[in-house]
């Protein structure tokens, strides 16, 4: 028996590896994966020509600041940052109540529902399932699609980008926060509930403090992600640096494109550094 267990364990892992490899090969075939194209002479020449035409980057004042500050690249960077901050803030504001309504430990399970009526449990389960579906829908539609929808409805500009980020990230953060709430230690919540606390008090003083640091850490991580998303949303007219990237590509202004790419890279590096500092302070 003792010898059989490791060999069956090994066979199981071998099976998983083979299944993974088959999946990878089939997926590669579907996407026409062909590394030879990368080293083909024409591809190399075109890539080289593209890189050469992008240097040196355009650092002229007319591009960085333009005639009015709001038309320049620097303003686009600031706008991208602002879109990500407001979008994430709005997402957190919506995700917190949504997570409370979609965590089973808050709505219908665990120590908060000892002796609860069947009607209360059923209604809690319905709310939980409904809000989970809503969050899944928000999450399933990509930010860029939400961007197109809001640009269509509200017109061009950063506000559409803010709403696109807020809706998608409400779905992401709402689900994450709800999962964290469901994974809290039920005994800690029970200890608060049995003191005679109401359900809301037990959630506030038993569950929420257990996840506060994790929630803050993941919020900062999502903010990092929204910076990258905000940079892309400009492609559909939802403000930010994406609009500059699109214009430079359309007008074949590769030196300006290089500048814009470097700016995005700098912004991502900076946000990464800042986020890691914030996470360290939360730890």
């Amino acid at each position: 028996m003792g010898e059989h267990a490791p060999s069956s364990h090994r066979r199981r892992w071998q099976g998983r590896l083979v299944a993974g490899a088959v999946c990878l090969v089939v997926s590669g075939w579907i996407v026409s994966f062909d590394p030879a194209k990368l080293v083909a002479p024409t591809a190399r020449q075109q890539l080289l020509a593209f890189v050469q035409s992008g240097f040196p980057p355009d650092l002229s004042r007319s591009y960085l600041v333009s005639r009015t500050v709001r038309d320049g690249l620097l303003w686009a960077i600031v706008e991208t940052l602002a879109i990500s901050i407001v979008g994430t803030g709005l997402a957190v504001c919506c995700a917190v109540p949504a997570s409370l309504l979609s965590a089973s430990s808050v709505t219908h399970e665990g120590p908060l529902y000892v002796g609860a009526s069947q009607r209360r449990l059923v209604s809690g389960r319905l709310v939980h399932t409904g809000v989970r579906w809503l969050l899944s829908f928000c999450r399933a539609v990509p930010e860029i699609v939400w961007g197109v929808l809001f640009v269509t409805a509200l017109g061009l500009g950063p506000f559409a980008g803010v709403l696109a980020l807020a809706v998608h990230n409400t779905g992401v953060l709402g689900k994450l926060f709800a999962d964290f709430l469901e994974e809290t230690d039920p005994l800690t919540t029970e200890a608060v509930a049995t003191v005679g606390a109401s359900r809301l008090q037990a959630v506030c003083h038993g569950m929420v403090p257990q996840i506060t640091a994790t929630v803050a850490s993941y919020t900062v991580y999502r903010w990092e992600c929204t910076i990258r998303s905000a940079a892309v949303l400009g492609f559909v007219g939802a403000g930010g640096i994406g609009y500059h990237l699109l214009l430079t590509v359309q007008r074949l202004q590769y030196q300006r494109l290089t500048t814009a790419i470097i700016a995005v890279f700098g912004l991502v590096l900076w946000s990464d550094w800042l986020a890691s500092r914030v996470r360290a302070s939360l730890g």
Partner: protein
């Protein structure tokens, strides 16, 4: 330590509890009078903590009834000092203790009370009484296991329940602190009944009026402390002692026998 008076206050009748189909408690029945000091003893895993959680309302029984003065207990009427691991680590000792008076707060006030809006003086007094007067603003996850245990006791004492329960309140404490904690519990609880799950038989037989011995999820005996014999206790812990003495297959040398009246001596 005896302060027993009057007719039974707490009545536990035919209580059963299963987890995932496995019976943890079966046919638990006993009554508790005002002022009684009861130690619940037994080996690990016999259901002492589950029984206390049932009494406190943290979990519901599958069968049987629990009544206080003939009625189902109200919220917070039976106050359980849970083990220290159930505290909120990211909050201070004072904030954790102030949770104990949430029952007395209104819905909205209770949301902010543990941040200093409650009866801070009483909470500070209790923290001083359990020897943590200098740790009030220390985060609980920075306290030792024994200090956390004392914070949990202070929380339960702040809550004004008509019956006080404590789950292993002397765990992780040195012998001197164990005695002082039990003394504190006895003093603060006053004329209310006190039920304590204990692993330390010496404390159970020296500081309580009555001992309930538990084995395999049932009550093996329920007697005044004067009637509890060493033989009875040895019998209760026989399985655990046997298990501890049993050498595992891989051991090349036998485990030495323990001294005195078993491991609990």
């Amino acid at each position: 330590m005896s302060k027993v008076s009057g007719s039974p206050l707490l009545c536990v009748s035919g209580v059963k509890k299963c987890f995932s189909g496995a019976s943890v408690l079966s046919d638990i029945s006993f009554v508790v009078s005002p002022g009684e000091r009861i130690a619940i003893v037994g080996p690990s895993g016999v259901g002492k903590t589950t029984l206390l959680r049932l009494l406190a309302g943290g979990i519901a029984p599958d069968a049987g009834s629990i009544t206080v003065d003939g009625h189902p207990p109200g919220p917070g009427q039976l106050q359980l000092a849970y083990q220290g691991t159930t505290l909120v680590g990211h909050r201070t000792a004072l904030a954790n203790v102030l949770v104990g008076e949430l029952a007395a707060q209104s819905g909205v006030t209770g949301l902010v009370a543990p941040f200093g809006g409650g009866d801070t003086d009483r909470a500070l007094e209790l923290l001083r009484a359990v020897g943590l007067g200098d740790k009030t603003d220390t985060r609980v996850d920075q306290l030792s296991a024994g200090q956390r245990q004392r914070v949990a006791i202070a929380r339960a004492l702040l809550a004004d329940g008509s019956i006080v329960l404590a789950d292993e309140p002397t765990a992780n404490l040195d012998p001197q602190t164990r005695s002082s904690i039990l003394e504190l519990l006895d003093t603060v609880v006053g004329s209310r009944p006190l039920l304590v799950a204990l692993h330390d038989i010496e404390l159970a037989t020296s500081r309580f009026d009555r001992v309930i011995g538990m084995a395999d999820g049932t009550i093996a005996f329920d007697e005044p402390v004067t009637a509890v014999t060493d033989g009875r206790l040895a019998e209760l812990f026989a399985d655990e002692s046997e298990h501890q003495r049993q050498p595992s297959v891989e051991q090349s040398t036998p485990t030495p026998a323990r001294h005195g009246g078993g491991w609990y001596g």
